[in-house]
Symmetry: C3
């Protein structure tokens, strides 16, 4: 993205982080069992209020007053899928933005079917790794499990295709991230090689994307960019003193909580 | 509470912590997915033995030989509620004390109904934040999600009302905690502003309340006071060297494990 | 085991750790809610790729292309048991090795029945604490919950009996571990008294055993020995600077990730 466009985007990100801290939006997560604790802690660290509410009996109702909804299929089962479909629909009906994290959606027939039904319910933002985004666009990815085995650069065309066809924002995360709404696109640097070695960092990011979506209802692209920028800077800072994935995990939460809003302009990771 | 009553209560707390460490009581938890790991670690750190046994097929049977049962509705669903009701009943039938953590019980119709059915099964102790306790007494709370938006002081009358009407002990946690059985009441200081920024600290506390209830079958008030005192002191100590919520979380577990029993009298947080 | 046999076994363990790091095998875990995050992080730390895929709709299919399957009954329920049975069968049919962690299998009638049905599906390796292994062989154990209350030495005969009768490998973990396939047997030292004070370390070990089983399809005994050796050395190292269970938990993940393969021969914990 040309520099003349990056600067306003970085300022927008800074404003959005201040808004998250001021409003502490309620972020409803229907996420996987592996990530629930870490995602909730990341949402708290960034300044928002997480609510892991998943049951069919209440999740759609909750979506009516949540600031945003995050749906992650990491440990999918039929009852959870049923609730996810009803909650995504309720979110769409209430104009609550919702974020889709299509974890390993290409691994099994059950997931491949589930993800198509979720996509039809119009997520505001899709956040995945390169393998997931390539497979989502119908391409042949190298990944089988939850870990990415493709480079982000190979997923950019897939991301633009999905964004255009589905009128959504697609965020591909990896060594350098890529966010696009089909028209606009930006790269986000930072982070650390330790991030993919800590489980649930991607899921935690999707939850934090939800926090920003809640305070940026008219601009999902800016929300995704701001969330990924925070992760980029906090990841880089946490890695400075980490001795491995165990110490990185908690240092990263400390770094998220300590982010001063103007780091998003002073140390902007946008390219 | 007058000083003449605080001193024996602090000594009682000290004796109960020694008893938990000596007996390592089995604490059965039907708790939410977010808190399971952290609550189990807190129960281990205080010296007891956690058992996350939730299924209808076995949870009621398990309640027959557990030292205490803890029921937390954080990530409620119909099958879990069914099991919680059967297990609470089995606990009551076996004279096993059980602790209720009414997480966000006022958020949805499903929860509002569930909590009334659980309350009727006579919990020995109810542990919640101010918003939850106010709503439990029928008051209008400012909270919608899992985080408290009311001050503990505003929940004291509600706590006394519930304790009296339900013949139970109510513990309201926040900046300064409040515990009452309707007749007696005490404030507990300590802790840290970082505690509400770490997810599941409240749930972990409810689980640790269960550990104390198991060794104090005739005095649930003393059990709640002892558990909250441990959290108050350990929270204060952990915060001394924490740089944020990530480092607070594990330092708090270290501090719980390192509590020497006589800190409960030497540094008593009771007021 | 005589020293002449220990040395080749230690070299084998070293080769297997290198193979795990090189191949990053996909380890499918149907494990309990308490351990999911920590087990996934341990599998990542050792260099493999965890996938927590549990639903009946996809878990058996996934077992067809996973490197190994790990089944842990910690938070069992009927739908999960049904899926575990189908997945264990699918793993056996696909010649995918699977590991059984019989958490507290002797605590309730539901578990006692479940474990017999799982055992009949021929796990390659069974990993449990002394109380669990004694009870598995029909003996009278002192444990009731998830924590061991028997010494490993008292479980050795039980382990040999199960290994011989079931043609499997049995790993009993405790202060000093014991692994046997009925014919061979070895002790593994190391670790730390802090390990049983951190929840899910045993479950994480079972998941890491799965990672080694995936790269040692013809020798499950060697796989179990290698995994336990890694835990022994990493546990000892992590304890050096830990101040309690909270700091041990993340230091242990750092230590697992930092293991250089030749520590398994230079500091071999095999006896």
């Amino acid at each position: 993205m040309p520099h003349s466009l990056l600067t306003p985007l970085a300022h927008h990100a800074q404003d959005l982080l201040s808004a998250v801290r001021r409003d502490a939006p309620l972020v409803q997560c229907l996420t996987n069992f592996v990530s629930m604790n870490y995602a909730a802690n990341a949402v708290l660290a960034i300044g928002a209020s997480p609510a892991m509410v998943h049951a069919e009996e209440e999740a759609p109702e909750f979506a009516g007053f949540a600031g945003a909804v995050v749906i992650n299929i990491g440990t999918l089962s039929s009852p959870w899928l049923q609730s996810m479909l009803l909650t995504a629909k309720a979110a769409a009906d209430a104009d609550t933005p919702w974020v889709l994290d299509p974890v390993a959606h290409h691994a099994t027939a059950f997931r491949r079917d589930a993800i198509q039904r979720l996509l039809d319910l119009k997520p505001a933002i899709i956040r995945g790794n390169a393998s997931e985004i390539i497979a989502l666009a119908g391409g042949l990815s190298a990944g089988k499990g939850v870990d990415a085995r493709d480079a982000v650069a190979h997923a950019e065309q897939s991301a633009r295709d999905i964004a255009t066809q589905r009128q959504t924002v697609v965020a591909v995360t990896g060594e350098t991230d890529y966010v696009t709404d089909g028209a606009r696109a930006v790269h986000i640097t930072g982070g650390s090689p330790l991030m993919p070695r800590v489980t649930a960092t991607g899921c935690a990011l999707s939850a934090v994307v939800g926090a920003f979506a809640a305070v940026s209802r008219n601009d999902a692209f800016a929300a995704a960019v701001a969330a990924l920028s925070c992760f980029g800077i906090a990841g880089q800072r946490a890695a400075l003193h980490a001795d491995g994935p165990g110490s990185f995990a908690w240092r990263f939460l400390d770094a998220l909580a300590a982010l001063e809003a103007d780091c998003l302009t002073r140390e902007s990771p946008l390219r």
